[in-house]
Amino acid sequence: MLKILKYSFYDLMRSRWSYVYFAFYLLLGVVLLFLNNDLSKAVITLMNVIIVLVPLIGTIFGVMYYYNSKEFTELLLAQPLKRSSIFLGQYLGVALSLSMSLILGLGLPFVFYGLFESSAIWDFSLLLITGTFLTFIFTALAFNIALSNENKIKGFGYAILLWLFLAIIYDGIFLMTLIMFEDYPLDKLSLVGTMLNPIDLSRTLILLKLDISALLGYTGAVFKQFFGTNIGLIVSLIMLSVWVVIPVLRIMFKSKKKDF
């Protein structure tokens, strides 16, 4: 598996898309910091970008890589290699190279800006951790979609739909549900609803840092326990890990059954 990972990673590191992605984040970091000169504001803007863009790029890149390397995968399948290691290797290759573009692209401008002397370093690290989680989750989801759909166009369609659903539509339905049932105690429901969507989950993690003052204004005891203590942070991180593990397991399962 490590060999496949190595080659997929090298392959992607040489792809111009990795550089585009890297350059985009580098530019974003530089623009936010040096034109604006306001670290807190930069972190907030970055958060919005990461929550929306990282999942989108993760899904599209994952699907694209899978379809593009289909023949290569077939070449590998004829080699004495386990299927699970071929797909896990490729998956990790994509996820790692995307995460690296993200971390380096955003990290470099912030380091040059003097992040290490700033109090924003924790917010910023949390941002990068969340971004990395999202990359791993959405690349895995993309591989799942691609593994289940031979048709490229369909695969892309589903990938975009998945993103659209989790990034926007889900929250719309969520909001409607909360408003419709506003006469009932809702704090458990709203927390569970958050856990079921990795984008909302990462958003919560960031809210814990940026909007704790507002969150503590709410009365519910469950809410208070979740946001007022470290439980929120711990539960969110565990749930994010679950969100990585489940799609990865499905990749392994699905790849064992699939015909090429």
Partner: protein
């Protein structure tokens, strides 16, 4: 070498193989023939473990291939469409496959044979179809495995390379290897193969030498023999 019992495979509702029994003995060149969609590639991919059968058993060199990947060390496979990661250089691809399967020196000789030296430092994405196929051939023949499977090996090759390929196949045969070929080029098949396996509607219609086929169909030459099978069965 390869033994297949009662192999069934369908994709969704589309039955591709329905009860294939096949024994391929050690040594010699076997051509798998059949009209489009008769299940040639599916059969080969089943042997390689890339297609998972609904039913049936396949053994390669006495090993059941189910849930096994190590037996593929005994197989050299030339896939039909050679499409490699476009960012890799030819040299790197060869090094990588060696890295995955074990070292060999055979590649030097093959690169010379197919005149690939000028392309070694080029990226695979920039190569022509024929050159890619040559790289594909190098990757296949550089390991010394007892079973060689070639899926449409002649695609895109120029006449000189074609001759080189034929020589190469004959040489491997002389070493006592078993070679499985699919091809649409009848002259190529006639020239190379010792025995043919004819697939029709998911079953083996005929297995034997070319002369046996000619006798069976009462046709003077190979191409007509094949054609007559198809006409008889569609009439």
């Amino acid at each position: 070498m390869v033994s297949i019992q009662n192999l069934h495979k369908k994709f969704n509702k589309n039955v591709v193989l329905s009860g294939v029994d096949l024994n391929i003995s050690d040594g010699g060149i076997f051509a798998v023939l059949g009209p489009n969609g008769s299940g040639k590639t599916t059969l080969i991919k089943s042997i390689l473990g890339m297609v998972i059968p609904n039913e049936g058993e396949i053994t390669v060199l006495g090993e059941n291939i189910k849930k096994n990947s190590d037996y593929r060390r005994q197989i050299d496979y030339l896939p039909q469409i050679a499409n490699f990661p476009s960012n890799l250089k030819v040299k790197e691809l060869i090094r990588m496959i060696k890295d995955l399967r074990g070292n060999t020196d055979e590649d030097q000789y093959l690169i010379e044979l197919f005149k690939l030296e000028p392309f070694l430092d080029k990226k695979l994405g920039n190569l022509s179809g024929g050159t890619k196929q040559k790289v594909n051939i190098v990757l296949t023949f550089m390991f010394n495995s007892p079973l060689i499977i070639l899926d449409e090996p002649t695609t895109g090759l120029d006449p000189i390379s074609l001759i080189r390929l034929k020589e190469l196949i004959q040489k491997e045969k002389a070493k006592g290897k078993t070679i499985l070929i699919t091809s649409h080029i009848m002259s190529f098949v006639e020239e190379m193969s010792d025995e043919i396996v004819f697939l029709l509607e998911g079953k083996i219609y005929f297995k034997g030498t070319i002369s046996a086929l000619k006798t069976k169909t009462n046709q003077p030459d190979f191409e007509h023999a094949i054609a007559s099978i198809l006409i008889d069965n569609h009439a």
